[in-house]
């Protein structure tokens, strides 16, 4: 891994995004002796997956599956990784893609930083830890999280009190308060867009009142609560640290609804809700757990069995629409549910002390604005080819993972391999054509 790269470095492939899709593509390309540059805008690679607890359908711990791929990519001689770097724009001329990167200042010289964390220990300023979904706190200068790659401290300028203590304790003089953003253009023959997804806001449906209660939480926060190395090391609800006794999952809380601009299915929420429910019932054997759903979409290999196991474990599945969530006394929540399960009592009210909203998946980045890559009406990268599902509208540019629509890890990894295959075929054919051309003209 090398963090100092200049414009004269010409990779065979530039991969946008260091999530599981980007890393898998990079590894499959590098194993064919192609040179790959992975560009990641966060301060660690790993994407969404590194923040998950355990992953369906096998319930492996997410770190255990992600870290080896992160580490393999970081140590691969054919892979270079740039973190804290965002792809801003791209243009293509004569088959060469020029990708403009913005390297954000980290205020730490990565060549000097040895990851000793003395700065982090010395720093006095804390802010809510974004990796822990704001549940714990992190110092203004810190290595992003335990298994982050690279293990380099990054200073958050927004929260830094500029006291200078980090610079004083740093044994290698790595702190550089005067770092400036840097733009850099990389020229490459091919690109894979693996920029992944975001979740729409928990507040996207005002009737769910997420703004009024910290006990109405995003599913990513539940992942952190369930992670064995999570912020509290156990499941506690955010408002008062109480151990929840009745947890509700509200499905389709940001998907399958034209009125909020997300008419499509987010594809993973049924399965992660079931997974979280199972993990919760392990962590809190006494808690009641209810999943309010429209359709259970357990379509993948082994997924239906996973769903049936959850039912057998006693998790409550209630088919119906949650019309409203109201914060009530003691930090609890009242759900107004229209259910078709109970003829006597179709309009029900249920009290829970923690509510997880299955938000919708939306694109993390819109390449259509600044690159030749077109997006479809759902906002995700368009894949117009009938035979090549990872080809975008632009020749030589491919797409993998959630950047091309909501997707679980299994499907993401398959697509990442497919994109890598298409790139290597594309490069092989392109270079063979150049050789033929040279033979003809020379």
């Amino acid at each position: 891994m090398n963090t100092q790269i200049n414009s004269d470095y010409v990779p065979d492939v530039l991969v946008i995004g260091g999530g599981i899709a980007g890393l898998q593509s990079a590894l499959d390309l590098a194993d064919q002796d192609l040179r790959v540059l992975v560009v990641e805008r966060n301060s660690s690679i790993g994407g969404r997956m590194i923040g998950l607890s355990k992953v369906f359908p096998t319930l492996d711990c997410a770190s255990c599956i992600t870290t080896p791929k992160m580490s393999a990519a970081a140590h691969h001689p054919n892979i270079q990784i740039l973190t804290n770097t965002e792809v801003q724009a791209m243009e293509t001329r004569n088959g060469i893609h020029s990708v403009r990167l913005l390297q954000k200042p980290t205020y730490v010289n990565f060549d000097k930083c040895i990851g000793c964390r003395l700065c982090e220990y010395a720093c006095d300023t804390e802010y809510p830890d974004p990796f822990e979904e704001g549940l714990g706190s992190v110092r203004a200068i810190a290595v992003p999280f335990t298994n982050a790659i690279p293990q380099k401290a990054v200073l958050d300028a927004e929260h830094c009190a500029t006291c200078g203590v980090c610079a004083r304790v740093c044994p290698t003089d790595a702190i550089e308060f005067d770092q400036q953003p840097r733009t850099l253009t990389i020229h490459t023959d091919s690109v894979i867009v693996a920029s992944g997804f975001n979740l729409n806001a928990v507040t996207v449906k005002p009737q769910y009142n997420a703004a009024r209660s910290s006990n109405i939480i995003p599913p990513t926060m539940m992942e952190r609560l369930l992670a064995p190395h999570g912020p509290y090391g156990r499941v506690l609800r955010p408002s008062d640290g109480k151990i929840p006794s009745s947890v509700a999952f509200v499905q389709c809380a940001g998907s399958r609804d034209e009125s909020i601009g997300v008419p499509y299915c987010s594809r993973v929420c049924c399965m992660y809700a079931i997974k979280q429910a199972m993990l919760l019932s392990g962590a809190l054997p006494l808690a009641d757990i209810t999943i309010y759903y429209m359709d259970i979409r357990a379509f993948g290999k082994g997924y239906e069995q996973f769903f049936q196991n959850a039912r057998a474990m006693g998790i409550n599945f209630v088919r119906g629409k949650v019309a409203r969530v109201d914060p009530i006394e003691d930090g609890d929540l009242r759900l107004h549910v229209e259910t078709t399960d109970d003829a006597e009592n179709p309009l029900q009210e249920h009290r829970h002390d923690l509510v997880v909203l299955a938000q919708g998946m939306i694109p993390a980045w819109n390449p259509a604005a600044t690159t030749p890559v077109a997006c479809a009406s759902d906002g995700f990268v368009a894949t117009p080819s009938l035979t090549d599902p990872t080809a975008t509208s632009a020749p030589g540019i491919f797409v993998a993972g959630a950047a091309a629509g909501p997707k679980d890890i299994v499907d993401t990894i398959a697509e990442a391999g497919a994109a890598a295959m298409q790139v290597s075929r594309y490069l092989h054919e392109k270079r063979a054509a150049v050789l033929v051309g040279q033979a003809v003209h020379g």
Binding site: P68, A418, A420
Partner: protein, 632 residues
């Protein structure tokens, strides 16, 4: 071309680091992983570290939150360099996940990667003894002691290198097989594509317009068929079957029989095999939903055929001479079956899985009926609508708008298809009866002229290939990958890859992606001159072998062990010889050899003995009580 039974022996080269004086004590480093909490919530890892530090020649024992993370690995690498370690133990999760990871870290420290022992204290200690922290902690200590014992008896090993035939066999010429073949060919790799039928394209032949593109499947099939037919790197054998497979990664010998008369059996060598044999549509049992009892009950493929053969200009949909006025579509026929609810088929295995493609196919067809024949009533009976894929939810909303009427049943109470009582028969001879959960469980009976069974996917009939290649199948009967996330297209036999619906239900896009993923693994494998295998294979000590051949009789892997003639002190004798490519290191031969003349590298008998001694030995502060030994 190298012969398939050629001899390749693991090379025992000098270790990467300078050899220390033979009698100098070892320097062993032990690393204990918390696995976030997966281990340390049960096992007292600090106590483990303190205790194992007292074991012979252990010079350091450290605890890490995630040993597999980069800083965790870095610690190991640095310690090797700085503390001159010459043996390493990591006690963490199953070796299946991370043995390779830590061998890599050990190599980066300049140590031979086989001077490393992996101890699984997560699955085998913390998870197995969740409610007994004390016992789990002692067990972890003892397991590490065993590994330390073994490390006193290991030598450096080298990966076995075998020649690599840069050519792939693709079995099955559906879209998965054609996609994998054309990708590899485009990458400069030779491919042999074998299709058992007369046509390329598999189940998508004659499918008509497919969701979500609404393009004719023919376009897709023809485009892929054109690519495979015109590419000079691809050789196609139609109406052909693979009849024999032997050998190993880089060097599989296959025999292929072609149906047409006069063509001899093709025997050839390939480096990798891609299984793209696809699926079989589910065919209901006789009488299941009155199938084959009532002509108005048809499967989805039969219905697709009916719509396709009905001219575009037709104003009416007719079947068996009858005009269809109402159609019922039934979801989950032959999928998501439940024990005690569904009748098991003759093989006794229920299809408990979801077939992934039926919901959207049904909605697409329901819409098509409403558009082409607006007077036909369409009723949809579902459990959950699973229009999960990109562009699929639109079919659901469009179907609702187009006047398709939905009914929902619980899996435990599937709808019944019956003959309509005479009084209402003019509304439709068949009726579908259910407790409709959309109307709070009201029992409803809907008379219709036709019932379309939304039949799903079944595993292909490839028992012979499964047997030949020693492939694993899952509970669902489809081919089973090693791990859905770590090695999703690989099987436990190296060099064999899975593409498309041979592995489980998938739609077109997923099939093409899976085929690409399989192809890329083959491409990476072919990027190397040689294939490299683990050195854990049997080795014969010729000074002890007396040619009794007990080992050969015991060996389950054809060709892995055989008797060869050789000269010993002027006489010709028979001695056992191992083929490293075929040996799996199971050790069956070791157990039967009366002379201890055969052993498995990396798992030798003296190493096992050292492990047992390590488990049982007294450790300071750790009495070796009988119940302690019982834990194992």
């Amino acid at each position: 071309m190298s012969e398939h039974n050629q001899q390749v022996q693991p090379q025992k080269n000098k270790p990467m680091q300078n050899e220390r004086a033979a009698d100098a004590p070892l320097r062993i480093g032990v690393y204990i992983c918390r696995c976030g909490g997966n281990i340390s919530d049960v096992v007292d890892v600090d106590r483990v570290a303190e205790t194992v530090k007292l074991l012979p020649d252990v010079v350091t024992a450290k605890v890490h939150t995630f040993a597999c993370s980069d800083p965790g690995q870095q610690t190991i690498t640095n310690d090797i360099l700085e503390q001159n370690l010459d043996r390493v133990v990591v006690a963490s999760c199953t070796p299946f996940l991370h043995e390779q990871t830590f061998r890599g870290a050990v190599s980066r420290g300049g140590l031979n990667p086989y001077l490393y022992e992996h101890v699984n204290i997560r699955e085998q200690a913390s998870w197995a003894h969740k409610h007994d922290p004390e016992g789990a902690t002692i067990k972890a200590i003892r397991m590490i002691a065993a590994a330390v014992g073994k490390l006193h008896h290991v030598e450096p090993l080298e990966q076995i290198k075998l020649p690599n035939h840069r050519r792939a066999l693709v079995v099955g010429g559906g879209i998965a097989g054609m996609k994998a073949a054309s990708e590899l060919a485009g990458r400069g790799i030779k491919v042999l594509l074998v299709e058992s039928s007369q046509r390329l394209g598999g189940q998508l032949n004659d499918r008509g317009r497919v969701y979500p593109t609404e393009r004719d499947a023919k376009e897709l099939v023809e485009e892929l068929a054109r690519r495979v037919r015109t590419h000079s790197n691809i050789e196609i054998l139609m109406q052909s079957n693979v009849t024999a497979v032997s050998g190993f990664i880089g060097n599989f010998k296959v025999a292929i029989r072609t149906e047409a008369a006069g063509i001899p059996v093709t025997e050839t060598t390939v480096g990798a095999i891609i299984m793209a044999t696809g699926f079989r549509p589910y065919v209901p049992q006789d009488g299941e939903f009155l199938y084959r009892t009532e002509p108005g009950v048809v499967t989805m493929p039969e219905f697709l055929q009916l719509l396709r053969s009905t001219p575009d200009a037709a104003r009416k949909l007719t079947w068996n001479g009858r005009v269809i006025r109402n159609i019922a579509f039934l979801h989950c026929v032959g999928s998501r079956q439940l024990d005690g609810v569904h009748e098991p088929p003759p093989n006794g295995r229920l299809n408990t899985y979801c077939s992934r493609t039926c919901c959207t196919t049904i909605l697409q067809q329901a819409l098509e009926v409403r558009h082409r024949f607006p007077s036909v009533g369409v009723f949809d009976f579902y459990r959950d609508i699973r229009t999960y894929g990109r562009g699929e939810e639109n079919y659901y909303s469009a179907a609702s708008r187009a006047g398709v009427t939905f009914f929902r049943y619980n899996g435990e109470e599937p709808p019944r298809v019956e003959l309509t009582p005479r009084a209402r028969a003019k509304e439709g001879v068949l009726s579908v009866t259910l407790n409709d959960t959309l109307t709070w469980g009201t029992e409803l009976s809907v008379p219709v002229d036709m019932v379309v069974l939304g039949t799903g996917m079944m595993p292909g009939e490839i028992a012979d290939l499964i047997e030949q290649m020693k492939l694993a199948t899952g509970e669902d009967g489809f081919l089973q990958e090693v791990h859905p996330k770590l090695r999703p297209v690989e099987v436990s036999v190296n060099g064999i890859l899975l593409a498309g619906t041979a592995q489980g239900p998938m739609n077109i896009q997923e099939t093409l992606a899976a085929a690409g993923a399989a192809a890329v693994k083959a491409a990476a494998m072919f990027a190397r001159e040689d294939v490299e295998l683990n050195p854990y294979v049997a080795e014969v000590d010729l000074s002890r072998c007396c040619g009794e051949a007990l080992c050969v009789t015991q060996c389950d892997y054809e060709g892995a062990l055989q008797m060869v003639s050789m000269e010993v002190e002027g006489a010709t004798v028979e001695r056992a010889q191992v083929n490293a490519g075929l040996c799996v290191g199971c050790g069956a031969c070791v157990a039967v050899c009366p002379n201890r003349a055969i052993d498995v590298n990396g798992w030798r008998l003296d190493q096992f003995e050292a492990m047992v001694d390590g488990i049982a030995a007294a450790i300071p502060g750790q009495e070796c009580t009988p119940e302690l030994v019982n834990i194992h």
